[in-house]
Symmetry: D2
Subunit: 148 residues, 4 copies
């Protein structure tokens, strides 16, 4: 779907295990809807206690879902003994997040051994114009490394 | 503290009322530590259910706190009959968010009637090097306006 | 090509006249390769005096071309009596800008009367993987307005 | 001035030699006004052929100056056998760039062996409110390395 090849044949179980360890994803009801080399789709409904004044889903949930989609898209292409950390992202909140449920799609734009750049897009489950878009830089770190 | 003057003398009660309506802030235990014309400080402890794999606070909480601090800093300078909406932000996650509690400071860099630019910084309560920094664009909309 | 409709039927001559007034575009040899409602393509060769140490085109030229492509894409959809000003952009320099000539494509992602969000992509003239990507916020100002 | 220590005692001559190799800086008349561990100040006057329609300096010059200031600020702290490459930046153009000459200041916010984050600010030579601000990510690469 993205033209990339995973260097770790077990990338899917590695990604799913890491995702399952993120308590924030469970707390917000965000789940993996699909994944492959260079891409991850997450889906979620508006979580209780995370609306803003107009009753729409809070931007923080949108950002957390897109950040995870971008980071895990990078992680599908990573070496087996590495972790990923978001270094930075930019998000544009384009339209009110009207609706009950959403899909956050993360796609790798430029893979790398040290840095990967991903882009994310939030839409309704049926598609339509993007509600929010993200571009992020993800750093690959050797597991138990002291950092970059 | 920032050299700005609020055009709405009741800005403080307006900001506090809007903040109290954000269920996400209550759900994450984020509170207002202080505010004035052009600035807002928020504080929070690591909320249950929002850690990442290493036990640190999830980046989504950091981003939500900084986004709110930047947005409400803009809102302190807004006209009385307006709301604020975040149009976009960039966040850099500079260091691991080690610690039990944090302060998210938002400061207006360039106020405007239509657009305000704010910057945010997350540190330990005692200060020290920034854990994360944000630059965001906030749009001022007339209340009940159909959008920009 | 983008599904947008121009509100000003004379958008093309308005865009071309504004572009012709930008001395920086002439100084860098950047020209309009094509345009339509919601999109502008610019093309250029490496300008003399704008290489970096390895002989590649300087990132400043890449940024200026993408910024113009994004801004003029927004301007194709603008009202007749308005100008556009870039409020902010993020650029990711993904790959070395190897080559003699380039195309900078700007596309509107979210049009608006006050703010438009555009995305840009720099590639070789024949296409291929993106060399740089941009997301920018463009402000529409009434001509002779004192600013936002 | 920034609290950082250069690991390469010859950082100043290394930075000045690299800067002198950037033909774009000479073409735009941008010069080094000062530098130290973790910071670089550049200065320039409006270059001929780089104004926009209102006669102000073109945003592309502002971006190129801030990008260089941020990148060379990172380079002051780099190891002797390395180069720096800008991975991404965000710029906010806050106010019209009224004036004949400007200072672009780059400051390291978070140094690293692989990635450094810098912030930049453009003002009049006498200071005053920022005309533009930048946050950028700079990658350190070993000289003659094939990239990240």
């Amino acid at each position: 779907m993205t033209g990339f090849t995973a260097r770790d044949p077990d990338f899917e179980s590695r990604v799913r295990a890491s995702f399952a360890n993120q308590s924030a994803m469970a707390s917000l009801g965000i789940t993996i809807a699909g994944l492959g080399p260079g891409w991850v789709d997450l889906s979620f409904s508006v979580p209780d206690g995370f609306t803003q004044q107009a009753g729409f889903v809070h931007a923080g949930v949108v950002a957390a879902a897109l950040d995870s989609a971008c980071g895990y898209a990078a992680y599908t292409l990573a070496a087996a003994d590495t972790d990923v950390v978001t270094s930075e992202y930019k998000i544009n909140l384009l339209r009110p997040a009207v609706g009950d449920s959403f899909v956050a799609r993360g796609r790798v734009v430029r893979p790398g051994a040290t840095l990967t750049v991903s882009q994310g897009e939030l839409t309704a489950p049926s598609g339509g114009p993007p509600i929010a878009i993200m571009t992020g830089t993800i750093v690959h770190v050797r597991r138990d490394s002291p950092g970059s």
